[in-house]
């Protein structure tokens, strides 16, 4: 049984909830009291679950894996029968990996600012905003070109890949980091396209389109 050490308001945890759902996998959600409990920084969590004190952590049998992007790679490699989340093609995997790096920049910038405003965690807001805008512009540039050439997903694919899942949550939550998405029309169109994928599930802060 797959277990997910999870926090409801975490965009990084949501990446795995989304892929697990789209892969049709059963799993046990283990709620971690991130705020106000700071359980992810408790001695027990650091010792047994993740020495970095971060979420999400994925457990599959005895196999324990930290880092949202690493977990996306693992789940897609292990369970994606259709092979479109992490296509078995060197060039595509190379491109996907560049976007997994951008996802880390989004965590460092948008997620950090969001945690500052929501939970009072320390952050250099000016640096966060500069990195956020540079990352959002990079995404908008790539998506504008990809949309125009008929392969509208981040890694230039016809179907979304884990590159899209990795970058989606914090791009969509930019408003909570007090960043305006109106300068990025292609990015906004991509966010909408993700939300309207069959079987999409939302997270608090990302409006559920299905009603």
């Amino acid at each position: 049984m797959i277990r997910l050490y999870d926090y409801e308001l975490s965009g990084n945890c949501y990446k795995l909830r989304l892929l697990l759902h789209w892969l049709g996998l059963q799993y046990q959600r283990i709620a971690v009291n991130f705020h106000p409990g700071r359980e992810h920084r408790s001695p027990a969590f650091l010792r047994d679950i993740n020495p970095l004190g971060q979420l999400p952590v994925l457990a599959d049998g005895d196999f324990l894996l930290r880092d949202a992007q690493a977990c996306l790679v693992y789940l897609a490699s292990q369970y994606d029968r259709a092979g479109h989340w992490y296509p078995d093609d060197a060039a595509t995997r190379g491109r996907i990996t560049t976007w997994l790096a951008t996802a880390d920049d989004l965590t460092r910038s948008i997620a950090a600012a969001r945690q500052h405003y929501s939970f009072g965690m320390a952050a250099d807001i000016a640096r966060c905003e500069a990195l956020a805008r540079a990352s959002l512009r990079l995404l908008d540039d790539a998506l504008a070109e990809n949309q125009a050439s008929g392969r509208p997903w981040l890694a230039g694919t016809h179907e979304p890949s884990i590159a899209d899942i990795a970058c989606f949550p914090y791009a969509a939550l930019a408003g909570e980091a007090r960043i305006d998405l109106r300068p990025y029309p292609a990015l906004q169109a991509w966010i909408r396209a993700m939300r309207h994928r069959d079987g999409f599930i939302a997270m608090p802060g990302i409006l559920d389109p299905a009603l």
Partner: protein, 219 residues
């Protein structure tokens, strides 16, 4: 016939898909919700539900109605009148509940909005429908007042209010500029023909280079 500068190029027409999406736009600091009803008519509304002030761009298009995300209140295309209040489904909706709407039309592959309440003046002319492919729209960190000079330094000439003509990668290109806020504007780029498949990347690289040049020169 002089085109009136009261018409502003807010979005590329193809970005609005009938009965589907709502584009959140900014026109001189005024938030707009742009959408196309199921029957195709483009709508430019104040981006604010008159119930509790929530942006309508967070809502949903349902045929010829727009539903607010907060309580599902529905508003009809064209006049913006409220037609349904789901919390009170059996009571008539008061006639005075209405979204503020603006005049909008489509020309040259763009959606133009006139935010003034007075007579609009001459609208931008139609364009030969065979001409014009929308390449992309993008934000530029420069106030619109500086855009003209920056575009001219990059080899573009002003053709009409908010519109410039020039060439990119040797191809005739139109640029429309929208005043979004005092800090940034939105540029919409069109070229006459779709580039061949092997030139897409280069064309888009040229667009990014143009943006970077404009931002640097305007700084």
């Amino acid at each position: 016939m002089a085109v009136s500068p009261l018409w502003h190029p807010v979005a590329a027409a193809q970005m609005l898909r009938g009965g589907q999406n709502i584009v959140a736009a900014l026109l001189a600091g005024q938030p707009l919700a742009l959408w196309r009803s199921g029957s195709g008519a483009v709508q430019a509304w104040e981006d604010r539900c008159p119930h509790r002030g929530v942006p309508l761009s967070m809502g949903r298009v349902k045929g010829d109605q727009l539903a607010c995300a907060y309580h599902g209140w529905q508003y009809a295309a064209q006049d913006g009148r409220c037609t349904a209040i789901p919390a009170m489904p059996d009571r008539p909706v008061p006639g005075k509940v209405c979204v503020k709407t603006y005049a909008a039309l489509e020309r040259q592959g763009m959606v133009w909005v006139n935010p003034a309440d007075t007579a609009a003046g001459d609208a931008p002319p139609a364009q030969d429908p065979a001409a014009g492919v929308h390449l992309r729209s993008l934000g530029v960190d420069l106030p619109v007042a500086a855009i003209g000079a920056a575009l001219e330094r990059s080899g573009f000439d002003q053709a009409a209010p908010h519109a410039w003509r020039g060439s990119l990668d040797g191809v005739a290109t139109r640029v429309y500029a929208l005043d979004a806020t005092p800090q940034w504007c939105l540029l919409h780029l069109f070229c006459d023909h779709a580039p061949p498949a092997d030139q897409w990347s280069r064309r888009f690289a040229e667009i990014r280079a143009l943006r970077d040049a404009i931002e640097q020169r305007g700084a």
